[in-house]
């Protein structure tokens, strides 16, 4: 990379972006004008609502109250403390109501016509002869609503008053009888800590939102915007390497996004300072409150925000390079924004904490780091890891982008790589191959559905929930495929399998199974918690269930449904768009990542890749389905009937193997897998000869 070229490109991008009104609007006007304005407006609104509700006088009626005058007097006296005013209206003084109806009907009519805001009717409870007050009001009318809630406050106090009166009438000490247990709060956390924890909830979300907003527009502008305006081809005539181009675009976007984040933080700081100033002038609770203790947290947050801005920029750019126009790019970035915003809320989730695992989850790690910083827990290693993770992810994206950007389909493309679902179904072309955008969208949706609905279903319905969850995956995938008129034969490969392919697949699986388990055992040595978490979740569901039912839920359903989504939609799309080796590898990685467990990532990833290979060779999705079924049912039977196996074939359920055993297993696995490869290649060659 030539640093001079990058410098001039960077200068160009920054100048270009800063001269764009849309970006300026998002960057400067929104944080510096809109936020304070919103804040002031909401303050004004809140105070005006408050003054409105207290300044108003409410008209109410009482009916059947034993001693209406006494109650009226009580309410009059009390309402003076609360700053509200009640007018008691006599039914006789209401004009325009028919004479020949009962008082109650009159009140109802009066309430309907808003002559009064509420009315109270006293009755007596039939069983214990206590007084029952019924408050009639209109919840749809805000004034009536407030009147009713005020009356209920009054009645509560009135009840207290009556209670005290009755107890003292009986010659007892009302305080001892009525408040026999006394308690007070003693908060040990300092004001700074209390406020800090509040910050920890608010800041991550605001910061993530503002960085995203700041990154989105420049990212679209420098990629899709450049394409739309036709300057990309001009840029390509210059002696610029792809990586230089992408890197300078990335730097420029990250700069603007960090700038936006900084302006946002500044704006929030000014609002906070204003609030703090007005609060400390009004009350003296903030007297010993020092804002200086937040300085380290704020500084580290700023650094984290810059790195997060890099991550966001890389991600936004990555999505936008597939778009050929500004509008299309906006369509792509919106789902990404939603997913990231949701992840940004992680800081608000109880129980989720920054630790060795969450530190590697993008977006979530920044949110959790800020929570931690503002509760004054500084752990250098974790802070560093968050920063490194963000930097690493951004650079990975940049490198992938530089490779992707080489593709002429993207540079001069007709946009066939895009998201198809945005069009209406009747405008879709017949038998199309889904785009990369489609993949990103579908799998984001699947992930969200799985995280929200999936876990809920499993908790609520147990094994039936697992089945429902799997059906959901298949249904969403097939529906999406149907909607965009996917070429089902080409993408999903629902072809009749040949016996020899199934045999080859079985051999392949046997080898893969051994390799997977060795990898899993190996990783479990380093990440023991991760391995435990994987097992306990499923095992907890299995108690007292029929073995056939267990196998249907955990082996048959995943085999069918997950294969449709991963080997069907995902691999089917990739194999038509990329080189076959990359398609197989990407499928493996995504399939592994989908299991959301570090140990499984590699083990399941291997199975995913091998299944993809077998599908490619056999051209029938039923082959990987069969392998998946074999795999899951074998693992399940091992788990469920572990007692039996321990007794008869203890080798299979052992948790630790000696080094020689491991080596023998590894050799077996490799030999079996290689045999599978050879079988597939042999079958393939024979088929070609036949042609």
């Amino acid at each position: 990379m030539n640093s001079k070229v990058i410098k001039s490109l960077y200068k160009k991008e920054i100048l270009d972006v800063l001269r764009d009104k849309k970006t300026l609007l998002m960057m400067i006007v929104v944080p510096l004008v809109l936020y304070p304005l919103l804040f002031l407006c909401s303050m004004y609104l809140a105070s005006s609502i408050m003054s409105e509700s207290t300044a108003h006088s409410y008209s109410i009626c009482c009916e059947g109250v034993d001693d209406p005058k006494a109650m009226e007097n009580f309410i009059f006296e009390k309402s003076a403390d609360y700053n509200y005013e009640f007018c008691f209206i006599d039914s006789l003084s209401m004009n325009g109501l028919p004479e020949d109806i009962s008082n109650e009907e009159k009140y109802t009519l009066a309430l309907q016509n808003r002559l009064i805001d509420a009315y109270i009717i006293q009755t007596t409870d039939d069983t214990d002869f206590r007084a029952v007050y019924e408050i009639y009001f209109y919840s749809s009318d805000s004034q009536s609503n407030t009147a009713a809630s005020m009356i209920s406050d009054m009645l509560k106090e009135y009840g207290e008053y009556v209670r005290v009166k009755n107890v003292s009438a009986a010659g007892l000490d009302p305080e001892r009888i009525l408040d026999s247990v006394k308690y007070t709060f003693k908060d040990l956390s300092t004001h700074e800590e209390t406020v800090g924890s509040l910050f920890g909830y608010i800041i991550p979300f605001l910061l993530i939102a503002s960085v995203l907003m700041g990154a989105m527009y420049p990212a679209i502008d420098v990629t899709a915007g450049e394409k739309e305006r036709g300057t990309l081809e001009t840029l390509l005539t210059l002696p610029v390497k792809n990586i230089e181009l992408i890197f300078s675009k990335f730097l420029a976007t990250a700069t603007v996004a960090s700038g936006a984040a900084f302006l946002n933080v500044l704006s929030m700081g000014i609002i906070g300072g204003y609030f703090y100033g007005s609060m400390s002038a009004a009350t003296d609770t903030l007297k010993d409150f020092s804002i200086g203790v937040y300085v380290p947290a704020i500084l580290i947050t700023l650094v984290a925000a810059c790195l997060f801005a890099m991550f966001c920029s890389a991600l936004c750019l990555f999505v936008c390079i597939f778009a050929k126009s500004f509008k299309e790019a906006q369509n792509y970035t919106t789902p990404v924004m939603v997913v990231m915003m949701l992840a940004g809320m992680a800081g608000m989730l109880p129980g989720l904490e920054l630790n060795e695992k969450t530190v590697w989850i993008p977006v979530v790690n920044v949110a959790l780091l800020i929570v931690k910083l503002f509760s004054f827990k500084f752990e250098a290693a974790l802070i560093l890891e968050v920063l490194v993770a963000n930097l690493a992810y951004s650079l990975i994206f940049v490198v992938i982008m530089a490779r992707t950007f080489k593709s002429e389909g993207i540079l001069f493309g007709d946009g066939s790589e895009g998201i198809h679902i945005i069009e209406s179904r009747k405008d879709m072309k017949e038998n199309q191959i889904p785009g990369i955008g489609d993949l990103i969208l579908l799998f984001s949706v699947l992930l969200i559905v799985l995280m929200m609905a999936g876990s809920l279903l499993t908790i609520k319905f147990g094994l039936v929930g697992v089945i429902l969850q799997q059906l959901l995956i298949a249904a969403i995938t097939l529906l999406y495929g149907w909607y965009i008129k996917t070429d089902f034969k080409k993408v999903f490969a629902f072809n009749k399998p040949q016996i020899k392919n199934i045999l080859a697949g079985t051999v392949m699986w046997a080898g893969a199974y051994i390799i997977m388990n060795i990898v899993a055992l190996f990783l479990a040595m380093f990440f023991p918690e991760s391995a435990d978490a994987a097992d306990s979740m499923v095992m907890s569901l299995l108690d007292n269930s029929n073995i056939v039912f267990i196998l249907i839920a955990t082996a048959l359903m995943p085999a069918v449904c997950e294969e449709i989504a991963f080997r069907g939609f995902l691999f089917g799309t990739l194999k038509n768009r990329y080189k076959i080796v990359s398609a197989i590898l990407i499928t493996g990685i995504i399939f592994g990542a989908y299991h959301m467990n570090f140990v499984k990532l590699f083990a399941v990833g291997i199975l995913g890749a091998i299944n993809a290979y077998c599908l490619y060779k056999s051209d029938s999705i039923f082959v990987p389905m069969w392998m998946h079924l074999l795999n899951n049912s074998f693992a399940m039977i091992l788990a469920v009937k572990s007692d039996w196996f321990e007794q008869y074939i203890p080798f299979l359920t052992a948790e630790h193997y000696s080094v020689p055993q491991m080596l023998i297993l590894a050799v077996c696995g490799i030999v079996l897998t290689a045999a599978g490869f050879i079988l597939f290649e042999y079958i393939g060659r024979k088929k070609n000869k036949a042609k």
Partner: protein
């Protein structure tokens, strides 16, 4: 000098086709946009590329301008001493590429844009300044060189576009329909520019739809259709071969020959 041999570019295209059940489906088919083309242009030569829309002219010029990678074949670019240049960036430094698709940065002034490009070409600051003044004089841009490009007229924009190709003083110009959509005066200025550069010994490859222009300008004409070269030679020799007296008729004659050839080939295929 620029020379290409056996140049090919394969694209994928979605095409309607009938499947076994006689239902129209979309098929992803590969086809050659440029099919084994040999082309050469030497010093002080203007080579015109003619052909109907979709003949593969733009793809060919994009490959020659190093904007696209050829699927097959190679492009040789040599410097003044006949040394072959291998690095793509170095090749681009010798080429001034201009087409209807190379738009300018609207939010920049011409001066800012030229400065930025000079920087990317790696020229020292003083040289850039000198050249900008020079270009400004040649193309008569004094009045609007500091205006933002979005505020320029079509003719002014086209001049700005040419100025972009001059900043690095290339030996080879590749122009893809440079006069398309311009009025007579603007297109004349471009024609004059090409002539003057030819006299300086520069190599010019350019495509156009305007036959008269090509007849007047070009030393050699290359006619293309369906990605293949159908005829090549000087305007005079092409007119002679086709027994016509202007290039327009010569072009039509060559196209008709092509259609007949296709039909004969089609018949053979059917048999």
């Amino acid at each position: 000098m620029i020379k290409a041999s056996g140049l090919c570019k394969k694209f994928r295209r979605i095409q309607n086709a009938e499947n076994e059940k006689k239902k129209i489906i979309n098929k992803n088919v590969e086809f050659y946009a440029v099919d084994h083309v040999d082309i050469e242009a030497g010093k002080g030569e203007i080579v015109g590329i003619l052909g109907p829309n979709g003949a593969g002219k733009t793809t060919l010029l994009r490959m020659l301008g190093c904007l696209m990678e050829p699927t097959e074949g190679e492009i040789i670019i040599t410097d003044d001493y006949d040394n072959i240049i291998n690095d793509t960036s170095d090749k681009k430094r010798r080429i001034g590429y201009l087409s209807g698709n190379t738009k300018l940065y609207h939010r920049f002034s011409i001066r800012e844009m030229l400065k930025m490009m000079g920087d990317i070409y790696g020229l020292p600051g003083e040289v850039i300044k000198e050249r900008i003044d020079n270009i400004c004089e040649i193309l008569k841009m004094e009045d609007f060189i500091d205006n933002r490009i979005e505020r320029l007229s079509t003719g002014q924009t086209q001049r700005a576009n040419i100025s972009r190709c001059l900043i690095h003083m290339p030996d080879i110009y590749i122009f893809d329909e440079p006069t398309l959509g311009l009025d007579i005066i603007s297109s004349q200025s471009i024609i004059e520019f090409m002539k003057s550069e030819k006299e300086k010994g520069k190599t010019i490859l350019y495509s156009t739809h305007y036959m008269e222009e090509a007849q007047y300008l070009c030393d050699r004409i290359v006619m293309m259709n369906h990605g293949k070269i159908t005829a090549t030679g000087s305007p005079a020799s092409l007119m002679e071969e086709t027994c016509t007296n202007n290039l327009r008729d010569a072009f039509l004659a060559v196209s008709e020959m092509g259609i007949k050839e296709d039909e004969i080939k089609g018949d053979e295929d059917e048999q």
